[in-house]
Symmetry: C2
Subunit: 239 residues, 2 copies
């Protein structure tokens, strides 16, 4: 099965959580909007988004095409891919737990994003700078430690090197990406807090060092962080 | 199996999406924080939240206890309950599609909530009134129609009376609750827009008229909307 990922070609964004799973799982996949050739590129993504004949339209990218299935919502895509790529245990209880953690990461991402867009995604950052300063302050003061503390606790109680215990799952890839993004967006705030979350920081390093992930991060397939995605570095928000 | 729902006793909030599924599914359940008797009530919820021995702690209520399983995250609870309560079809493709819609509703809810709390959930509305006015304006101007238009399109393309087609699923209950909440919070804005989303509004009525849901809505088990939940009626935000 060759998976087709439909996502914006110039940002990591939410698509990156799918890319990381596909890479670690050694999947055969094409990142449609970034691929050269006929039927690929941004036009293919646009055509797909606007497709009026899609019986089950998605609200927003990313979508994954898997044969005749078209799956939207990042956490839902990972729910589907997890077992197929060997990135989640077989037991239903474990899969629900992995998915629960993934949904908590999704909430964390929304809050991280809204530090620079507290008023509206359709407005520029410059149009909501004052509100962004307040929201980022609240995020760094209250929410960051609440979320990171939660994952730290999960790692502690799980008793292994990964969130689900001894074996890596797709949720570890997502937590890696979240920490990487937070470090990019808030280098000062994260440097000051890293000693409080040793297990989470060690997980980040452990994932980064996995051969397939390391190869991916060093490749041109990994889009650098920039000021168009979820995580944006605005020094004035990083206190 | 007697399900135990752990959620705040004084608001509909995210727990309401689970309550509606349990009610429509005719499940044997107890709403722990609202129930009288030993081991019930707010103390039971608090004990559960703080439980230091829980191996797989949840980030926030609601949680569902199902035998030895403890499941967190609203959409995840519905993913689990759906098949058990006959509220989702059997095919994997249909279940993924239902879950995708549920996650889109979750995004919608977050945005609806943030109209009154754009800066931080730990602050009072009164501390962020100015920002709330801007965010609510953007929500009503841009986001509301984008989300409602999406579900309208899904209903149209599905060709039935419900989101998945001919049979009710838990996602219909969730869309019902979302529309009910939006009408409570933004009666003027919703009245002005209702003609644009006829299928969605008809779905709301259809769900409300189902015998089990109608009985639930008329009972003391249904907590009234108030200014502590996701949907709050602040007339100054309803333009």
């Amino acid at each position: 099965m060759r998976y087709e990922l439909y996502y914006w070609p110039s940002i990591q964004g939410r698509g990156e959580f799918v890319r990381l799973a596909l890479e670690e799982g050694g999947a055969d996949y094409v990142d449609v909007a970034r691929a050269p050739g006929r039927g690929m590129g941004m036009a293919a993504l646009a055509k797909f988004i606007e497709g009026r004949r899609v019986p089950r339209p998605a609200f927003a990218p990313p979508y994954l095409k898997a044969g005749r299935l078209v799956i939207g919502q990042t956490a839902n895509i990972l729910l589907y891919l997890g077992p197929r790529l060997g990135l989640v245990p077989k037991r239903e209880a474990d899969r629900l737990w992995a998915h629960q953690l993934q949904l908590t990461i999704a909430d964390f991402l929304t809050e991280a994003h809204d530090t620079h867009h507290p008023i509206g995604g359709g407005l520029y950052y410059e149009e909501q700078k004052r509100e962004a300063a307040r929201r980022a302050d609240d995020f760094l003061r209250n929410r960051l430690a609440k979320f990171l503390g939660y994952f730290e606790r999960v790692l502690e109680r799980g008793g292994g090197s990964y969130l689900l215990g001894r074996r890596l799952s797709y949720v570890d890839l997502s937590l890696f990406q979240t920490v990487a993004g937070l470090r990019y967006a808030f280098p000062r705030a994260m440097a000051r807090r890293r000693a409080r979350f040793p297990r989470t920081m060690a997980l980040h390093e452990r994932v980064a060092a996995r051969p397939r992930i390391a190869a991916y991060l060093a490749s041109a397939r990994r889009i650098p962080f920039n000021e168009h995605g979820i995580f944006r570095h605005y020094p004035e928000l990083d206190r």
